[in-house]
Subunit: 393 residues, 4 copies
Amino acid sequence: MSISLADLRSFVNSELIPLEPTFLQDSFGAILPKLRTLRSEVQRRGWWLPPLPHDYGGQGMPLTEFAAISEELGRTPIGHYTFNCQAPDVGNMELLHMHGNAEQRSRWLRPLAAGEIRSCFAMTEPEHAGSNPVWLDTSAVKDGDDYVINGHKWFTTAADGAAFTIVMAVTNPDAQPHLRASQIIVPLDTPGFKLVRNIKIMGEAGEDWASHAEVRFDNCRVPQSNRIGGEGAGFALAQDRLGPGRIHHCMRWIGICERALELMCRHAASRELAPGTMLGSRQAVQHWIAESRANINAARFMVMDAAHKIEHKGAHAARIEISTIKYFVAGGLQQTLDRAIQAHGALGITDDTPLAWWYRHERGARIYDGADEVHKNVVARQELKKYGVHIRD
Amino acid sequence: MSISLADLRSFVNSELIPLEPTFLQDSFGAILPKLRTLRSEVQRRGWWLPPLPHDYGGQGMPLTEFAAISEELGRTPIGHYTFNCQAPDVGNMELLHMHGNAEQRSRWLRPLAAGEIRSCFAMTEPEHAGSNPVWLDTSAVKDGDDYVINGHKWFTTAADGAAFTIVMAVTNPDAQPHLRASQIIVPLDTPGFKLVRNIKIMGEAGEDWASHAEVRFDNCRVPQSNRIGGEGAGFALAQDRLGPGRIHHCMRWIGICERALELMCRHAASRELAPGTMLGSRQAVQHWIAESRANINAARFMVMDAAHKIEHKGAHAARIEISTIKYFVAGGLQQTLDRAIQAHGALGITDDTPLAWWYRHERGARIYDGADEVHKNVVARQELKKYGVHIRD
Amino acid sequence: MSISLADLRSFVNSELIPLEPTFLQDSFGAILPKLRTLRSEVQRRGWWLPPLPHDYGGQGMPLTEFAAISEELGRTPIGHYTFNCQAPDVGNMELLHMHGNAEQRSRWLRPLAAGEIRSCFAMTEPEHAGSNPVWLDTSAVKDGDDYVINGHKWFTTAADGAAFTIVMAVTNPDAQPHLRASQIIVPLDTPGFKLVRNIKIMGEAGEDWASHAEVRFDNCRVPQSNRIGGEGAGFALAQDRLGPGRIHHCMRWIGICERALELMCRHAASRELAPGTMLGSRQAVQHWIAESRANINAARFMVMDAAHKIEHKGAHAARIEISTIKYFVAGGLQQTLDRAIQAHGALGITDDTPLAWWYRHERGARIYDGADEVHKNVVARQELKKYGVHIRD
Amino acid sequence: MSISLADLRSFVNSELIPLEPTFLQDSFGAILPKLRTLRSEVQRRGWWLPPLPHDYGGQGMPLTEFAAISEELGRTPIGHYTFNCQAPDVGNMELLHMHGNAEQRSRWLRPLAAGEIRSCFAMTEPEHAGSNPVWLDTSAVKDGDDYVINGHKWFTTAADGAAFTIVMAVTNPDAQPHLRASQIIVPLDTPGFKLVRNIKIMGEAGEDWASHAEVRFDNCRVPQSNRIGGEGAGFALAQDRLGPGRIHHCMRWIGICERALELMCRHAASRELAPGTMLGSRQAVQHWIAESRANINAARFMVMDAAHKIEHKGAHAARIEISTIKYFVAGGLQQTLDRAIQAHGALGITDDTPLAWWYRHERGARIYDGADEVHKNVVARQELKKYGVHIRD
């Protein structure tokens, strides 16, 4: 691997973790100037944007290598941003790189890869359950050379300050459900686009990259050339994106788990319950540590195996593995954070450690990109299919 | 019972729940003016301060009756405050009423009961584990007729804007551990008292009543007559307070669970997964509902039984029951909230419902007033004692 | 209550528990002679058949009182049999008492109540899921004054040595599903009745009362006067039976839990891990004890409440409570037994304690009388109904 | 790999699984004649005793290859026996091969490897907790050229019919705890050896290989040359044995899990709840399938990783991984079996499938070879050591 994980860890420990208190006590905006400097440093060191090819300024890493890096970066909430491989931008970049045309790449991918602009992805609609991704109201109707887009989206991550969004909109309402939608680039200064609010999520509306918006498209007009890929290919492209995307998330979650376990152990190793009696002498705490360790190891093996399969056989071949890690790792993440908080006692619920931040902001891990329950259904149907039964939802 | 629970529920539904969006999206301060008006209305209706005697403006309710009311008020985060029976004030009022002398009652209890001032309780110290409540550094040293108090406390709930605190401080360092501390009233305008910060907890520093402070006592001088009860009685008074206090908390938690279950059911009964297919048709959701219902019913029976025992035999006789409900109800609360959030999908992690607020702010339920693990140890030791074995910690 | 629970416990401890080793190491048959003697003693003491009226030799106890007794008897696998209130006989007696006609009572109820004969109940069919109790193949076709019965049943508890069975058979195939079946008495010496086998369940085929049979009805001819209650009333009668039946089971399960907790505590209080270090000093064991204690208390409150409701408002009014206790108590039973076994180490899986027997034979608790999942569906549908949604299975 | 897993699976399916009903309904003895024939067939096919070298008639397989085979054989309770790689014989063979001298290998290992005799291993004592393996009462005192052995053991698996046992006995009572015991070969026809009983475990005393004995050594005299390895090396040899032994067990457990999942899926795919409605359409069942699949995959990755580490770095280097898989896989095994039984309803608790057999006989998996709790302590202590804290038990 062209990047030393030890160097990376050392950088995270010495440069990023010290910024956490300001991020946690104040805001993302308060550390942005410092992050900009660090981003330059990351570029200088040849660590920038690991998964993208060198000609876009990245490191051209295969998925399995980026996965290992993603774990290291996941140890702090601001790791991926500093390396310009944060969601949703990294997903948009991979999408544009694989499916964008030359002009789209030049106009949108280049500055994104350079870290000059940010982007967002507008898919989820408040009126429809995310578990049914083909049920959308947002429409893009052809008018001359343009699309006229109308719709209502939320959980459009990082819309605040983004230069453009990719929107999932129905272009072919009469087609089969999976062939109705297309993905279309909409610059956020397009008339009719409205950022309704940064949604207050788990107590925080956030700002800039660290936010999730509710947005509206009211007769937004963009040229048809803004469509990425074929007409009606929106769902297929979204599926494509989700494979590597889930690897990114899962390895980031494993990084969070490792950090939470480290914090739990450090606290258990230093907190006295009575003079000379360490918290770590308590069997309940020991068992939390042991169960977390087992779960983290299991999760890493499964995710790396799925990454390997995507890398060598493609996302479609690995779709069951991808569904499996989704709920296995998200569930373990929540348990590990919960144990680490409990071990910290009152300190655990304060923002004096990052545990409470993750506890809040990763509660969504069991929900976004398909709720755990949906993925379990997928895996079960696949198992049942082996015995000749096809269960429909 | 002198208060109709149906009327109470109707009041909560029509007057308090409509204030939740402003509270959740904005702040406690933003609804305070309206809450003041409602407090007057509550007084007018004869619902004010249910557990205190009539001559202090209360309703003179026995613990079991207040328990039932506490559940109803618990359905919204602002219920108890509106009825002036919010923690920590209600605990302080009970303490002053039972153990305060005439002057203390007149000077502090009267205005507190009238809702004219607020108070706080300073016990937990950041340097020591809450699981060992007799290990305190805060000291009160006699000097003439005064105590001179030095110490560092946190999780001093509602210190922001309070008129006074009751502080737990070591007055007899050479006594047996349980006889070292006393409880002393300290007006917050006493020189040397410092509110260091409203601790940012789960993303929010909060304000006014809805806050938890870190405070310091630097040579705070108060008259010895500010001591409540005997010298060295601090721990015994704290224990006394915890019995009814845990009933209040537990019934409030049950109210939260009922509301969470209601929200989960309403969402399941109205959210479509596909045209005509309700979320509530999903067996996973059905089982979350059924398990929550069973747990809530179980919790209520146990808490009401403990309340009955406290009422008729005293808190000491009920101490095992009190420990048992602590972990049983706090654990069930977290599970019920977690299920309700999961059932809501993305909506569940927003502050568009109160679920995410409780998820954050009641994570502490398994920690405060003695971590679950500590109470389990207590119950187990009692069971083992039946068979002749005395386990020490 | 006319029976002293303390006397009862003393009897169970001194007379029944000493028989367990022979029962566990050898067989039910090996202790039957001794049990017969003890049954006479129970009659002599006025403890016989608590729930049946005095004129049938019982004690005329209301459900709530019998519930308390059932818990005490449940502490040993042979308690209920010794008091002649064992399933399925007690259910058959209650059924015959409430719905049997004079001749049926005289011919079948009297000797059953006297303990002179045993009976069984044939409902479950191997070909159909027990979760759908109205889907039956067994038929009873009228022929002259008789019914001619054909069918295949299993889990016909205690058929081995029984004098008669009550069989659930379709008499009205064209009626609404819930009105198709009737309950009919079939003496086991009727030609065409065949006990195929005592099913080997969890390693044991058992014998006599302690067995569960697979049976066949091949043109079994019985007079129509053997039908209990109206034609097509079979399902309604079965429901009727299930209410008190589940109370009996649940209180018996609580008795098992109390005994398991007692065994766990005794072992923890006497087993040394190293010289002077008791098993009970381990926090993992302490938490198993504490969680079991909480669960048992919760279960008892819920079951006694359901019993009270059945007693005062009828089984139909209490049907949701009955479904709720089914899964709550059965689930807790399995957990408590599992913890007690784990605390015993290797000893726990031997038959040197009754834990392993219950672990095996009460695994069915989560399955029989409606699998837990089915009852959860029932409770959830009822909750959802409050919000206007009717979910069908 | 020199053995085709597909061929192996086909053999298990066509030759071994058809014997299960007789094994489950009748006894191990009832299928022994047939198993002897199959053992010859296994030898003929070159599948015999995979982990032992060719010069002992084995296949000379490295641990990771045998692990994969062990999973396949684990799909039926009689797989390992048929391939002569069953516990405890395979462990004894590995021990004798690595640490036995020429005479011991010739006299005991050869016929064992040939399947002509069976053996057992006597370590656990009823008077002492297995969690403390260095606390033993069994002693071997030198007398001339002999050891005179006295002691009481239980859970001596397969003693019934065995030719010899290896006994763990204290030879150096004054040494450090871990250096007190030696491992000594005792032919079972040695005067003073007594098989007290085949312990009734989970309802079955069993017989022949399928049994676990309580045994006594009363002045058993054997030559000192029967000692395996150095004096006082007993504990070290036992540790050595446990590494590969846990891999064997864990992979066998994974085989059980795969079979249980297969049975659950087949039942879900064929059982109708109502005409046309499959059990597999139930989301509860789907989620059991999905959670089992995830857990099995995770377990396999972890065990194969530990096997690889043992193979390449030795058992000591892999000791933490070995402890981790112990509780992770044993816990998952119990859950998977429990789900499969629940999905089968009443059928699940009968011996008409192997599920109930495993449910009973693998309950011990969380207990034997060190209870899960002990291994969690080990893993936690290792994690805490990283942060400078050494917790003693």
